[in-house]
Structures are given as structure tokens and as C-alpha cells.
């Protein structure tokens, strides 16, 4: 336990340690089983749809929900070990948790909210308040110190909640959908700030979100979970280019197909719906190791990712040109995005195609109309299915 005389909250923690968790959680029909490692200073984004178990994961790490099996360790200390029946209480874990709904104490001023952890650990009132003021100052919100949470805007409350969590000098920082409750403009503003403050935190950080952009911008690594299981883990670039599931592909806005490798020379992939695509594409920053770059064996299960902007749409049959992939389909729907139009085409394979608004008017597209699609083989990225 900390002493009242410990160094102020502004100093970095000397004993920052890696988070290693391998945990199982069962509650009724829902089961969560995950293994994670997060190094000190690293930010892991846990991305997943609602009900995937993101919040359950955070609650388990914070000790608010008991795990049914597994171990959680941070640095040298063991927080949970189901085999040995060991489980630290939440208050002994030194975990900073920024709740989605902030959970600021309504009867305390902002300063006393931030000073709460120091007071709970036995620091004197004056010292706790001084340290709280320092933290507020560092986050640029010292002018809010004497206000009550009820009068704060969403963005201000978010900053205060973060300040309160950081002021408790946590060894693990957990953020539950930190930007979800904010309006679009504030979200943009806070996201930039959050990046800065998270970079200063020396321990491991886990950020839970359903917003891929938030994960890409804030995190060093992304773990995608669906139905309580990890489905993909990698750098933001990796997840964005090579989605492992339909859910991730949708999030990052890619067409995703699965099939088997039919020809190694031309890299033809026979898709599950009977059609084929030639996939000669490379990631610009594809890993250098030969294992990944080497073409797999014929018959290997593959995933094929194709960006909607890389597909050309024609209203008449096209001559064989440079594009290796050609197929036709009918328009199932049109959706106006901010700066372009997304056309859903039913065919083999079905595809989302992005065209400009000008092209939409010029081509006079209608739902039900037959169209021809082409895509260069170099735009089609194929990779072994995980």
C-alpha cells in the first residue's frame, strides 16, 4: 500500500510492469476467453461489436467481476490466479478505470474528485488537493477545479474522469469507450488530447471501443473480439489492410471474400460463391519475413480484401484491358456517403463500389440495372485465412 508521503501524482511510476492476462469468464450464456499482453507504455485497443465482451474484460481486469479461470498479472504482482484461489480486491489493484459514463462523484468538486484516490489511500486533505490541482493543471483544466460535476460539459467531464484515474497513479489504465458519449466535434478534439495524455502514461493501457477510427488513431495494437473470443490481433495498419472477419472488413470499409488458392503463378483464388479473383496485390508495408510473403500452397484457405475505391464500374461490357478481374452484376442499392456514392452490386462476387457523385449523374445508375465491374489484380490483396 502507498504511504501518504509518496511522490506526487505527476511523477511517472517507477514500477511500471507488463500486463499479462489469460482469463475465462462465464456468465449465463455468455463466455469470454482471452489472452493478452500489454507492455508498459503500450496502448492496446480492444475493438468489437456490442455484446462482444469488451466491458466484461475491463471489469474482470479491474476486479469488479470475478474471473472463472486464468491469471492476471501486472509487473511482479499477481492480481488474479484462479488456480490458487487468489484474487486482489479492486481497491488493492491500483487500476485506473475511466468509465464510459465517467461516474464522477456528484457531491464533490472537480478538485476533490481528482484528490479522492490520494485521500482514500490516507493522504492529508491539503496535500491531496495540491496534487489534484497539479494534475488538473497538467491536463489544462485547472479552471474547473471548484465546479461540481453537474455543471460540466461532456468533454470536460471526460477530461476530469481521466484526470481522476491518472491521479490515482495506476499501474494499469483502462478506458471504456472514452469518446462514445461525446458529440462529433468534441470527440475529435478530445481524441487528439487523449493521444497526448496516453503517450505520457508509463504503464500498460487498454482502450475499449467499437469505433475503428478511435482504435487506429489511439492504439499501438488492436485486438478484435467477437462473441467473447479474439478474432484478430495486430497493428492498426495490419488490421485495416487485412481484416480477418466480415465484421472487421465492414468496420474498415473493405470488401472481404473467402476462398481457396487455385493457382500459385497467377494467384487465382476460387471464391466460395463459385467466382474467381486474381490477387496480385501487395501491402505497401508488407512484413519483410519470407513466410508471410511467400505464396502459400494450392488449396490454402485465403481471405481476399478489395477496397470499394479500387473497383471500376461500367454500364456496358468492357473490352479486356489491363484489369484482370471482370465480372457483372446488378445494382442492389445506392448510398450517399459524405464525398462519394457507395453502390452495392449483386453478382459473383457481390461488391461495394465507390464512385464519385459526378459519375453517378453521368452514368444515370438505377437499382436493378446491370453493370460491369473491373479491378486490377494488383489492387486485390489476398492472405491466408487465420
Amino acid at each position: 500500500m502507498s504511504e501518504p508521503s509518496e511522490s506526487p501524482a505527476t511523477e511517472p511510476l517507477a514500477d511500471a510492469g507488463q500486463l499479462t492476462a489469460d482469463l475465462q469468464l462465464a456468465r449465463g450464456d455468455f463466455a469470454l476467453g482471452l489472452a493478452l499482453h500489454v507492455a508498459p507504455g503500450q496502448i492496446l485497443a480492444v475493438l468489437g461489436p456490442n455484446g462482444a465482451g469488451k466491458t466484461s474484460l475491463l471489469r474482470a481486469l479491474a476486479g469488479l467481476t470475478p474471473i472463472t479461470a486464468g491469471r492476471i498479472t501486472v509487473g511482479e504482482s499477481t492480481w488474479d490466479d484462479a488456480d490458487r484461489g487468489l484474487s486482489l480486491t479492486t481497491e488493492d489493484r491500483r487500476v485506473g478505470l475511466v468509465f464510459q459514463d465517467y461516474r464522477l462523484f456528484p457531491h464533490l468538486t472537480v478538485r476533490d474528485n481528482v484528490a479522492f484516490a490520494a485521500r482514500a489511500r490516507g493522504a492529508g486533505r491539503d496535500r491531496a488537493r495540491r496534487d489534484a490541482t497539479t494534475v488538473l493543471d497538467r491536463l489544462g483544466i485547472v479552471e474547473l477545479a471548484d465546479r461540481r460535476p453537474a455543471v460540466l460539459s461532456g468533454g470536460q467531464a471526460q477530461r476530469v474522469a481521466l484526470a481522476r484515474a491518472l491521479a490515482s497513479r495506476p499501474r494499469l489504465l483502462l478506458l471504456d469507450e472514452p469518446l462514445a458519449a461525446l458529440d462529433a466535434r468534441t470527440r475529435l478534439e478530445i481524441r487528439g488530447e487523449l493521444r497526448r495524455y496516453l503517450a505520457e502514461f508509463s504503464g500498460p493501457t487498454i482502450l475499449v471501443t467499437h469505433d475503428p477510427l478511435e482504435a487506429m488513431v489511439l492504439a499501438d495494437r488492436i485486438l478484435v473480439i467477437e462473441g467473447g473470443r479474439a478474432v484478430q490481433e495486430g497493428t492498426p495498419a495490419m488490421v485495416a489492410r487485412r481484416p480477418a472477419t466480415e465484421y472487421v472488413a465492414q468496420l474498415v470499409g473493405l470488401n472481404l471474400y473467402s476462398g481457396t488458392l487455385a493457382d500459385r503463378a497467377t494467384r487465382r483464388i476460387d471464391l466460395d460463391d463459385g467466382s474467381s479473383l486474381y490477387a496480385a496485390g501487395h501491402d505497401r508495408d508488407e512484413p519483410a519475413d519470407a513466410e508471410v510473403r511467400a505464396v502459400p500452397m494450392v488449396g490454402t484457405r485465403m481471405l481476399v480484401a478489395l477496397s470499394p475505391t479500387a473497383i471500376s464500374l461500367h454500364t456496358h461490357e468492357v473490352d479486356p484491358g489491363s484489369a484482370r478481374n471482370r465480372w457483372s452484376g446488378t445494382i442492389a442499392g445506392l448510398e450517399l456517403l459524405t464525398d462519394r456514392v457507395r453502390v452495392a452490386v449483386e453478382g459473383h462476387p457481390e461488391a461495394l463500389v465507390d464512385i464519385t457523385a459526378a459519375a453517378l449523374t453521368a452514368l444515370e445508375l438505377q437499382p436493378g440495372q446491370q453493370v460491369w465491374l473491373t479491378a486490377k489484380a494488383t489492387e486485390v490483396v489476398a492472405y491466408p485465412a487465420p
Binding site: 469488479l64 480486491t89 479492486t90 478505470l97 459514463d101 461516474r103 462523484f105 479522492f116 482514500a120 490515482s168
Partner: protein, 237 residues
């Protein structure tokens, strides 16, 4: 009642009936009962609101029993428990030499018995609707359960504790049945205002009206004062 009051006789009546003594006793006992109710009732309400132990529904029934029980029956029950030959009373006398029935302390016990359920019910409701997420937040900040109760939960339900306390105080001030059964009607020792009114009514009805008027005035005054301070909706501490 105000109309029928014997205004010109008031000073004489109040002096003869020992009204001042009875009023003093009433206020002291009601306040004492309220203090005990808060000290015992708030932890009890917390247990009722938060514990999931098997005996909780039974405990809740026992705690709220005085709300539905005629106070006289309550008084009989207290007499059986705390009387000289009662289960608790016998033990109490053997250990301390003190007995509760027919003493001022007995009045406080009787009033606590009928007043505490008001406080417990009010505070339990507030604890149930209090945001338990805040208690979780306090735990992540290193606060132990008792400290969390003191620093977070209690301040948030304080308006309800005050409201329940006032309700209990008002109920204790008007207490009659349990008091007269358990503590008797001894002027200066256990004769509170309601008992004095009852005694006066048997012999001198106009005096009873006068005494009632005094009790009414005091109750209204206190409730109005408290209302302004603590019972206004939306008060936070």
C-alpha cells in the same frame, strides 16, 4: 381546536397540568429516539438494501413490523422482552441493575421502536436507487468499502436520512400506545405530551384541548424549520 381553545385559562391550565414538564420530556425523548434510530437505522438500511443473504426478507419484515402493528401491541411486546422477567430484561437487570419499563429511557426505547421503521424504509429506498457505479468508481480509486460508504454513499443519501429522521421524529413525538403500555404515565418521568393530553381529557376536557394546541404549535414550528433547511427537494450535501 384553535376555535374551541380556552384561551383566557391557558396559563393556569398549562401550569396545573405540568405541560412544560411534559413538553420538555416529549422533545427530549423524541429527539433521543431519532438519534438512536439514525445510528441503528442507517446501517440496518444498508444491510437491507445491499445484502443478498437468505434471512434478509425476514429481517425486513421484522424491521417494518412496527409500521403495521398497533403501537399498544408493540408496547406489550417490549414489556415481554425488556420487562423485569422478559428475555432481555432479566439479563439486562442482572448485568447492569437497570430496568427499562416505567423509566424515561423506556419512553425512548418505545418511541425508537415505532419511529425507526420510517427512517429505515426511507433510507433503504434511497440506497437502492443510489448509483452503485459510484461505489465501483471509488473502489478503483483505492477506497475500502467502509470509507466508500462514508465518503460517497452516505453523503448522497443524506437528504433521505434527514427526511427519514424528521418523519421518525414526528412519529416519536406523537407516540402514545407503546409508551403508555411499556413506560406508563408517570408525570415528570414518562408522561409525554400525548399522555398528558389523555390524562387531562379524562378529568378536564378544555385543558386537553389547550395541551393539544401546544403540541400542535411545537410540531408545526419544528417541521417548518426543518423543511426549509433539509427537506427541500433537490438538496445535495
Amino acid at each position: 381546536m384553535v376555535w374551541r381553545a380556552p384561551w383566557h385559562d391557558l396559563p393556569r391550565i398549562l401550569a396545573e397540568t405540568q405541560a412544560v414538564e411534559a413538553l420538555r420530556l416529549s422533545l427530549i425523548c423524541a429527539t433521543g429516539a431519532t438519534v438512536i434510530s439514525v445510528l441503528l437505522g442507517v446501517p440496518l438500511a444498508w444491510v437491507l438494501a445491499r445484502s443478498s443473504a437468505r434471512g434478509i426478507p425476514l429481517l425486513r419484515a421484522v424491521v417494518t413490523l412496527p409500521l403495521v402493528l398497533p403501537p399498544v401491541v408493540g408496547g406489550v411486546a417490549l414489556l415481554l422482552a425488556f420487562g423485569r422477567l422478559g428475555i432481555v430484561g432479566r439479563w439486562l437487570e442482572a448485568w447492569t441493575g437497570a430496568t427499562l419499563p416505567f423509566t424515561t429511557l423506556g419512553v425512548v426505547v418505545a418511541e425508537t421502536f415505532v419511529a425507526m421503521p420510517f427512517l429505515v424504509v426511507t433510507v433503504e429506498g434511497a440506497l437502492r436507487s443510489a448509483d452503485q457505479g459510484l461505489e465501483e468508481a471509488a473502489a478503483t480509486l483505492g477506497s475500502r468499502p467502509f470509507a466508500t460508504f462514508r465518503r460517497v454513499t452516505l453523503p448522497l443519501v443524506m437528504p433521505s436520512v434527514a427526511a427519514g429522521g424528521v418523519l421518525g421524529w414526528a412519529r416519536a413525538l406523537g407516540e402514545f400506545g407503546a409508551t403508555i403500555t411499556f413506560a406508563g404515565n408517570l408525570p415528570g418521568v414518562t408522561q409525554t405530551m400525548p399522555l398528558a393530553v389523555y390524562r387531562a381529557f379524562e378529568t378536564d376536557p378544555p385543558a386537553a384541548v389547550a395541551l393539544s394546541l401546544v403540541l400542535l404549535a411545537v410540531s408545526v414550528t419544528v417541521l417548518v424549520l426543518l423543511r426549509d433547511r433539509w427537506l427541500r427537494p433537490g438538496t445535495t450535501w
